[in-house]
């Protein structure tokens, strides 16, 4: 094992930079799912939602680029399409879990199957997408800051989406803990009956949170295909939806901790890519890939899981039930 190739500054910078990049799609999904779960709905379908977002974003971007010949603008519209596709999947989840009171585990897994098969089907059906590549969105180094040695390269040389996602972490935290609406979201995840008797609509809150969460996961999928990979392949998300769910529990439903978790995942993922690229046979990079799952279990093992979980998580609300 060529360890000397690993412990170099260039390698470190490359891994950290890529780690931040790789963290973004998962981070977006995690932030969304935190909002969803805070409202008491557990959407296990993120893997399917991210795939739908990824395909919608990629296909939209590709066709717009072909049609208009523009760059960048189609990618932004593509991201919007990913967001919208996610919201549509969220609507399906909401109808299943909230209106029909289907078991949320079942609903979520159905969503995964639907997302996986539908994206594969549509990807195959639209033959133009076969080996298509798109231009995507260029990096935007931040003036001055990106010139700082090491740190500048790691932190301030990214696509605008990355900076935006950082802002979303703050936004989510403010939303949940500093706004009246966040108070309602957290309340509906704890005691929906109390929210209903306060004259608020449990349904509306949960629908909105499920839609927002799912839209963000769709956006995450689109960021992956449109901004980072510039291509789509079957199952392109490769389990990121499941990792996002793991990280929600890892973060104890806190956006800032979620950022840390997503970065950890991103760095582990980047490291794993680099190690594979080094061509070392014995290096057990699979264990790096396990890291998010193992860490989540470890965090749950030593944390007090019961006290922070939204009390009504996963339980459908029946009007008039006491």
């Amino acid at each position: 094992m060529p360890w000397e190739q690993v412990f170099t500054l260039t390698f470190l910078i490359a891994v950290l930079t890529a780690g931040i990049r790789l963290a973004i799609p998962v981070l977006l999904a995690v932030l969304g799912e935190i909002i969803t779960q805070r409202s008491g709905v557990m959407n296990l379908g993120l893997e399917g939602v991210m795939l739908m977002g990824g395909l919608a974003g990629f296909a939209t971007t590709y066709h717009l680029e072909q049609w208009t010949g523009l760059t960048e603008l189609p990618a932004w519209i593509g991201l919007g399409a990913g967001l919208a596709a996610g919201a549509v999947m969220g609507l399906l989840m909401a109808v299943l879990a909230i209106t029909w009171r289907t078991d949320q585990v079942v609903a979520g897994i159905t969503l995964v199957l639907l997302g996986q098969s539908l994206t594969t089907y549509l990807y195959r059906a639209d033959t133009a997408l076969g080996n298509a590549r798109i231009t995507g969105i260029a990096l935007r180094p931040i003036p001055w800051l990106s010139n700082i040695p090491v740190i500048g390269e790691i932190l301030f040389n990214h696509s605008p989406i990355t900076y935006l996602s950082g802002g979303l972490v703050v936004l989510c935290s403010v939303l949940l803990f500093r706004t009246n609406w966040g108070l309602q979201i957290r309340a509906v995840g704890e005691n929906p009956a109390a929210v209903a008797t306060s004259g608020l609509s449990v349904m509306r809150l949960r629908y909105l949170c499920t839609l927002i969460g799912s839209a963000m996961a769709g956006l995450g999928g689109a960021v992956l295909t449109v901004v980072q990979l510039n291509l789509f392949i079957e199952g392109v998300t490769a389990g990121r939806g499941w990792i996002a769910i793991a990280l929600v529990f890892f973060s104890r439903w806190n956006p800032f901790v979620a950022l840390g978790g997503a970065l950890l995942f991103g760095i582990a993922d980047a490291l794993q890519f680099r190690i594979q690229a080094l061509g070392s046979e014995e290096m057990p990079y699979e264990f790096l890939l396990m890291l998010p799952y193992v860490l989540t279990l470890v965090v749950l093992l030593f944390g007090n899981a019961r006290d922070q979980t939204p009390a009504a998580l996963g339980t459908p609300y029946t009007k008039g039930e006491r």
Partner: protein
Amino acid sequence: MTVDQLTPTPPQKPWTHRVKPFAPGIGVLVALILSGILIQLSGANPFEAYKVLLLGAFGGTRQLTETILKATPLLLIALGLTIAFRTKVWNIGAEGQYHMGALLGGIVALTLPNLPAVLLIPLMMISGILGGLLWSGLAGLLHLKRGINLIICTLMLNYIGMLMVQYGARVPFRDPDGFLPESAKFVEAAQIPRLFSSRLHIGVLIALVLVGVVYVLLWRSPLGFRLRAVGAQISVARSIGLNTSQHILAALLLSGAFAGLAGVIEVSYTYTRLKQSISDSYGFTGILVALLGQMHPIGVFIAAILFSALVIGSQTLNVSLQIPAAVAGVVQALLVLGVLAGQAIAQRDT
């Protein structure tokens, strides 16, 4: 508990129960119509497509054999999950338990190639079951001893199990002479015997027997009674003195054993080696099969055949009508959605 006696305490009404058995049928119908629209949109005649699909799945001995073979792991996993779900134990870790079963069974096949089949096959089966038990038991311990959400435990262990197989196939058990990151082919004796001269194997028979076993277990045995009691109202089960943790663990272990068995059978017969991918998401699809089959062994049997037929039938669809084979998954998902919708509507209060 202060139940206002006049509020609708039992929200179910008699007619609901009469409609409920038809909910799957209605759901299937709606799903087929929606899928038909999808097929129409991609430029093929839906009726022709369904015909091709049916013939591709059931049209001859070869097709039927393929359908049954593909249904076997789904059936095994879904039968195990039927036990778990009846106990309201949300084991969604069948995929990981399946992988661990395959891994342990595969390791036995690779490390003891000189054993005769009569010893090797049972040993593999036992190891496979142990693999499933180990993984579901681990989730059970984390859940019962540390209070970690069972859905999350089983979910986390899924990917850990899958990655263990990938690592095992790539590094320690890799065939040094092969180009791919996979093990050498198992010896002949490690492939479970066929039934007569068909391509069907003993695993199919085992799965069929287990349909009956699960029925008897759940509705004709004290253990099944207690498991269902825990599932129907855990607080009552606890109050009458049942050790609910033990029963939850039992349900988990049983479902893990079924998934592990499915894993070892598949790796022994279908894949015949440890490789990077040894599952067609059976563990996840099995959840939907159990659900579509109304958590009843007979229903689960029908659902497993249905899901498998869609996959096998759609392969010919791809060849003859150029419809992507992934349509099978879409139809499966729509089927489940249709049934869920049917159930939801049947359970409406007014």
